[in-house]
Each structure stands twice: as C-alpha cells, then as structure tokens.
C-alpha cells in the first residue's frame, strides 16, 4: 500500500485550548478529501479524544510538553497520528474497564471518564497504539465507498 500521499504535521503545546485548533485543521483537510459530513464529525471526535488523552495523561507533572499530530492523506483514506513524548501510562490498564455503559448499572457507579479510547475505536476504521518513550496513536478512516472497492480488487486478483 505504498501509494503516493501528502503529509501534514502540526505541533501544539500540551494544553486543552489548542485541541480546537486541531479540529479546525482536520475539518479542512477531511472536507478537501471528500469525506461526508458525518465522517468528518467522527474524525473530529476521534482526533480530539486522542489529543485530550495526550494532553491530560501524558503531561501530568510537566506543563511544557508538546503533542505532535500528523495527517497522512492518501487517495482512499486519512491516517491521523497523535504522539506525545511524555510519561507513558500503562495502556493495557487504561483499556480495561473501557466500553459502553450498560443498562441497569447502578447510577452511583457510573464512570465519569475513560470513554475516549472506546469512542476512538468505535468511530475510526483502524486504530493502532505504539508505546515506547511516550504513546503514539495511529488511526485510519477510509473515504466512504473506497474500502469496498479495495476489497473487491483484492478478491479479483
């Protein structure tokens, strides 16, 4: 899948007020690529969730951190990378206990956070997490219809 692609990268201070700026940029990129309104909204939420995680968890003690956001623009898909180089947290631990709320759960035990990663996985087509110095999240969304065409090609060859 080594097709030609364009790459756009941004760095923001690890502060919540800049997450909206990333959303604006992402909107511009995704609408240029022909994503539908709903897909753009999904992309905005998933990318904001990743940035929020990076800002909130990675730099608990150090306010000078940065978050790097990369956009890989392919013909058929957009890849979004969100990387922090802060203190890595144990993602397996974070993953546990994630997921939707269940009906009938006692009200006082409803969680007030931890939905971010679950939403990312629900709204994007592919999600990968790399962990070394910090945490890097790669997520992909296909332009509507493209994924089906690609699969069809694979089958016919």
């Amino acid at each position: 899948m080594s097709q030609y692609y364009d790459y756009i990268e941004m760095k923001i201070p690890a502060k919540p007020e800049f997450i909206g700026v990333i959303r604006l940029t992402l909107s511009g990129i995704a609408s240029r690529m022909g994503f539908s309104y709903d897909d753009i909204e999904d992309l905005k939420i998933a990318t904001s969730e990743a940035c929020t995680n990076a800002v909130q968890h990675a730099y608990k003690d150090d306010e000078k951190g940065e978050v790097k956001i990369g956009f890989g623009l392919y013909q058929d898909r957009l890849e979004v990378m969100v990387a922090d180089n802060g203190q890595s947290c144990d993602f397996d631990e974070v993953r546990q206990g994630l997921g939707p709320y269940e009906n009938g759960q006692s009200v006082e035990f409803l969680r007030e956070g931890g939905l971010g990663l679950y939403l990312i996985e629900s709204l994007m087509d592919e999600v990968k997490i790399h962990q070394n110095e910090g945490v890097t999240l790669f997520m992909t969304k296909f332009v509507e219809g493209e994924q089906v065409e690609m699969d069809a090609e694979t089958i016919s060859t």
């Binding site: 909206g20 959303r23 929020t52 939707p100 009200v107 006082e108 409803l110 969680r111 939403l119």
Partner: protein, 110 residues
Amino acid sequence: MNISIDVKDIDSQVRVSVKGEIDAYTAPKLRETIFPLSEKENVNMVIDLTEVAYMDSTGLGVFVGLFKSIRSHDGEFRLVGLSERLRRLFEITGLADIIDIKSDTEGGLE
C-alpha cells in the same frame, strides 16, 4: 472554540442553555458553572443542547457527573434539543438508555 452557559430558574425548574463547543478546554467551565446547582435537594434540571456544535467524551463525563449528583439528591435531570450527532454519541456509549435525552426542546420549554 468557546462556550456560553445560560442558567435560568423558572417555576422551580433549573433551565440551562449551552452554546458552542464542549471539549477538554470548555468542559471544566461547564462543570464549575452547573455542578453546584446539582447539589440541592429535589432539583429539577433541564439542559438544552440545541446550540451545541461539538461535543466529545469530556462533555459526556460532565453530564454523567451531573446526573449522578442530581439522582443522589432525589432530583430530576433531562437533556433536550439533541442533534442527530449528539444523540449518536449517547447511543454509542450506552448512555441513551440511562440518561433521559430528547431531540426536541418542548419538554424544556413547557
């Protein structure tokens, strides 16, 4: 990237209108403004989200917190004016079955 929160107390009902975007930056402001109101006994709170253009899990977290606080004080809590997008967020996360949400605002404007 801003939020405005309007709180009105009419006929023993607390009516909150939220405008703008709810994200990691604005959610703390939303929580600080509304949360104290949720700690009174038997409060009846309706939050109108008609003019919310964007919301993510940080907003869901605020509403879950409010819902819990109001329930523990024997009050009532409703969200009205949800767009298709917002409704989807509550459905994906399973919150639609737990919190009372409505797409129209009639319940809040009666």
